[in-house]
Subunit: 335 residues, 2 copies
Amino acid sequence: MIFWLKDMGEFRDVVVSSRIRLARNLDNYRFPIRIGTDEARQVYDDVIRSLDKNKYLSFKMKDIPVIERNMLVEKHIISPALLHTPNISGFAMNEQEDETIMINEEDHIRIQVLDSGLALKKAWKKADEIDNQLGNSLRYAYDEKIGYLTSCPTNLGTGLRVSVMLHLPAMEMTKEINKVLTTITQFGLAVRGVYGEGTKALGSLYQISNQSTLGDSEETIIKKIDHLTRQIAEKERITRKNIFEKSAVSFEDKIFRAYGILKNTRIISTDEAVRLISFLKLGIASGLITDNNINDMDKLFIEIQPASLQYISRKEMNDMERDIKRAEIIRNKIN
Amino acid sequence: MIFWLKDMGEFRDVVVSSRIRLARNLDNYRFPIRIGTDEARQVYDDVIRSLDKNKYLSFKMKDIPVIERNMLVEKHIISPALLHTPNISGFAMNEQEDETIMINEEDHIRIQVLDSGLALKKAWKKADEIDNQLGNSLRYAYDEKIGYLTSCPTNLGTGLRVSVMLHLPAMEMTKEINKVLTTITQFGLAVRGVYGEGTKALGSLYQISNQSTLGDSEETIIKKIDHLTRQIAEKERITRKNIFEKSAVSFEDKIFRAYGILKNTRIISTDEAVRLISFLKLGIASGLITDNNINDMDKLFIEIQPASLQYISRKEMNDMERDIKRAEIIRNKIN
């Protein structure tokens, strides 16, 4: 179901995933906010033509049913913003679903590479290759002084957004998370929820990314986030160990109760499920729960989101039906 | 551990237990509230002498360690009031622990017979036999007009207290319980918590007993409570069925979550445990949970009380140690 999430990856016990995103625009078309329908179709055709047809499958958004569109967002394959302009937007992705080229989102082109664990350099290398491939046949909107031109000034220059998704339940428990979040902001980085800007930190998951795309080189931006992520992940590991040593029983209790509820529930909301899966992940990372693995839990986290649920069930469902289906999927997934 | 609770019994899905208690005093001694130590010892000796030595074991309260005293209360073998005068009180009980003769509680003699399910007539027959046996060799304080004389006027006449312990979770859920409790009171009956007067209704358990001991015959009092219990039990059964049919999923969810938590918890308070065991009992009665039986859950209810816990562990424990031990006992008991 979710191909890009894997067991492997550095700091996989803390870092769920790494993401590289590049914003690009074409020189010979108006930017998406001003673009006409015909022009937009030409952008789509130009971009798809520049990609290796053997490697990438391409889709026009208007051909995709609404539930599947939302499911793609939940799986992080496309951005929520790509759904804002379904008449002109589209995307290409590879079979592993870890490389996406979004077309006519806020910019003409958004290149995205995903990986599990801390793998920013690897993801950057892939994104850079796609960028070069496209750049060979397309003329980018580029300014010698500023760099790549984008619709929003926050993406100007490198057009690079580097982000990591961190699971920080222990620091959330001890409230140390607040200090960490302040530090992150002071470093000029942004903290967001699982599904991007304006979404809340579900299940102790925090998305950290660079705010500035201008001034520093791609390598510098990546190095900065990679370095800070390592520090935060180490701190989370230490905090987990401390909590476990200081209050082993109540820690075990929280985790095993979460396990017991998830294994037995018949109806459960996304919020509660996500909170309990977060505890279970912590239990797996701490070695208390041995029959399940973190990667399956990260996949489960996505599979129980509203659209993914409905896609699995092949039908639209109301809130209660979803809560029942969610419980069923969880019970079946947990060993 | 708890011998008097059994699988069998009428309405065992709703009625945990039936109890008959007779208050008697001896004519030739001052009543316990005014009694001297030597006199009290003579009462003890007189009563024990009148009992079949092959059937009853006798104990002076002062010889019993405090934790064991409290455990006997939790197991309903003796009354809490018997602990108020440990220097003069004592009791005799049979091997099955379903027949107790308490000595120098509020009255000289308190005969108690316990049984599981609705079994008032059977219990009454046993209590009546013990009463006859004692009456053959002891001279009771008795008035031709009033009947048996007792320390408190609320026991005058028959000296009979008839009570049933009912598990009424469904009517609690639908709030119908309030109407039922009002009706019970209007019938001149009293409703109490699990451990008697002034204790709260833990785990949806309600103790119903007669308030008046004067005026009606023993048979009339018993018939009245037996009749009302059947009505309440039938109503509880119907309510369970209705809830199950109307909202099967959320009903199942409550029960399976309770099961999941109890099966996995590492630290749990009496209150929470009792609440969850109540759900589990309901699940067993409804046929949703098949690996466990109601009788084991009723025993568990007693085994997790503070004194019983400490007795099992053979040591005094603080709150946290008890909550941990309680979780362990529950995990081991539930299949």
